[in-house]
Symmetry: C2
């Protein structure tokens, strides 16, 4: 079967590899669509980061580069392994792409299985990937989505789960006011969750095209250009002088974090969703004198069922975030290169591995 294999920085190859075997306890999935994630781009431009470099196998998967890429996938079950009785051939599914040690409790009783030692991701550190025609995944990480969610939109459930978990980390509730810095894919999908949960959303984003997207998709009530507008003054005006209840840092740049600290209300919560390459500077006086909570968030944990329900209910419409669909052979030319060079208009590019 065809698969996109990551060898090293700048070296991703579309190759023909053997189909995976369906073992007991696993599910065979015909991949329908797989999104390209910012993490994939980082691996391509600056990696290997999450990918275990050649000669350095991952301690859980035992695999090293080359590995199959892709972790934002939807598909249709084509086979179930021995012992799997609650999924059937033909079911539409998505994957929660974790690689986690066998001795970790990954049930819903453990609110931190995603933070367990050596945690990594399917499609980065081995165990196949969504940028291939087929994948075999342990039953635990396969989530049925019913038949109402189109399979292309379903490929966005993984990044939407990131936004959902960030929302849960914020403690936000209906009626709250949120300020998001950055309207990239994760900023937009976090906004989509917040809107679905009845929260007013303001986004600060320098790119006009991205601000337009936030308005067109209906996920933002207010958008501001931080180069032209005093964002802190604006959101305070919109909140009777108090400031936003919750903030989401989705840019990894210092001025965005500073804006959130200046804007947030006393006792407010700021969630850092982005991955920062260098240390941030933190005005401790603002943290202390406003009793702000600064909270990290990574991935998702027990988030997929609720996220799927949100899409099934129609409260989140994922269609407008799909900006292109391409064939696997065009992964670099029409996928990575577009996201790297023209990433103001592209939100989510989906790959159809069979096209």
């Amino acid at each position: 079967m065809k698969a996109a294999r990551y060898y090293d920085r700048g070296d991703i190859r579309i190759e023909d590899i053997a189909e995976p075997e369906v073992e007991p306890g696993t599910v065979g999935i015909d991949v329908a669509f797989c999104g390209i994630c910012g993490t994939d781009l980082h691996e391509y431009l600056d990696g290997p980061i999450f990918v275990p470099a050649h000669g350095h196998p991952h301690p859980i998967s035992g695999e090293d580069a080359p590995v199959t890429l892709g972790h934002e996938m939807s598909g249709v079950v084509y086979a179930v392994g021995e012992g799997v009785s609650d999924l059937s051939v033909g079911d539409h599914v998505v994957v929660e792409p974790y690689i986690i040690r066998d001795d970790v409790d990954t049930s819903e009783n453990n609110p931190a299985y995603h933070l367990s030692p050596d945690m990594n991701f399917i499609g980065l550190a081995g165990r196949g990937g969504g940028l291939a025609e087929k994948i075999v995944v342990e039953r635990r990480w396969v989530h049925p989505i019913g038949s109402d969610i189109p399979l292309d939109q379903a490929a966005l459930i993984e990044p939407l789960s990131v936004g959902y978990h960030a929302y849960k980390r914020s403690g936000g509730k209906a009626g709250d006011f949120a300020l998001i810095t950055g309207a990239g894919p994760i900023g937009l999908l976090t906004a989509a969750v917040l809107k679905a949960e009845g929260i007013t959303v303001a986004i600060s984003e320098p790119s006009e095209l991205r601000r337009d997207k936030a308005l067109e998709t209906g996920v933002a009530d207010h958008v501001f250009d931080p180069r032209e507008t005093d964002v802190v003054a604006k959101v305070k005006e919109l909140t009777d002088g108090v400031g936003p209840d919750i903030g989401f840092e989705c840019t990894s740049v210092q001025p965005a974090l500073d804006t959130l600290f200046d804007a947030i209300k006393p006792t407010g919560v700021i969630v850092v969703v982005s991955i920062w390459g260098k240390p941030g500077s933190l005005d401790m006086q603002k943290l202390v004198l406003k009793e702000v909570d600064l909270r990290g968030t990574i991935g998702y944990v027990n988030s997929h069922p609720d996220t799927i329900a949100l899409v099934q209910s129609g409260k989140v419409d994922l269609a407008p975030f799909i900006t292109d669909k391409i064939a696997l052979d065009d992964l670099i030319g029409k996928g990575f290169d577009t996201l790297i060079n023209r990433n103001e208009t592209a939100v989510k590019i989906l790959v159809d591995p069979k096209a």
Copy 2:
């Protein structure tokens, strides 16, 4: 009556001033003891900070320097104003020394009255102070302590409330493991609260004398010298490799914050209790990949009744933290100068305004 009056940086005078008037809704208190706080020292060395400088009256109190100092006080009621029916002459009391706008809800229904606009402190921004023979305080801010708590120990209830509120901010619970950086007065009193609540306490503190104090008073289970010991390795060893559940930054120095981030368990909470004079550097990767909560805390809010109950129950013994008692005339010579020059042995120096 005699009072310590703050005029300006380096200029505190013991003067004879008029006694305050007991107005409707207020309580007249004969001050028994008043502690010297680190904040008082900062005002003396680097101020005015909280104190409104001469010619710049505080927007709520309307007062400017000179003001009477002292906000850690205990005393005996000598008169009650019209409308005060639930306190009597002779009652032992402490003061929650807030200056807050009249239009703010300061009932227990408001968990953030201490973060309201222009909040300041009695004994810093006007309305009298504990470093005087008498003080008159609005009924709301006077807390009865019963007759079992000695009045000298009662003067420590205010800083103990700071530790109590920091503990509440952490979400800590019995059975947890806490790492505190710094065994100054607030580090020690925070430790005292944590121990009383059934939490195991480790303290990282470079001063041997302060480490000894933490052990002698029984508030620490483990003490480490961070210059000689790998504190992160030690606390991980003590927590089965997981790390502390909660951390308390009580030093305002960068290496202490770094130690807490390296040590804290995934999903752990770090509370910043100290006042930092400059920005901190924050490794966002640790915040994000361990999903740490970094929380600011300032003062106390609805904390005095619980803190008083903790002392009444005998779970916190404040006696060992009183390292000297001095007369008001000795405030600078035996008080401030001792704390500035020999602050490794001194924890809390109490002033008896009538001595």
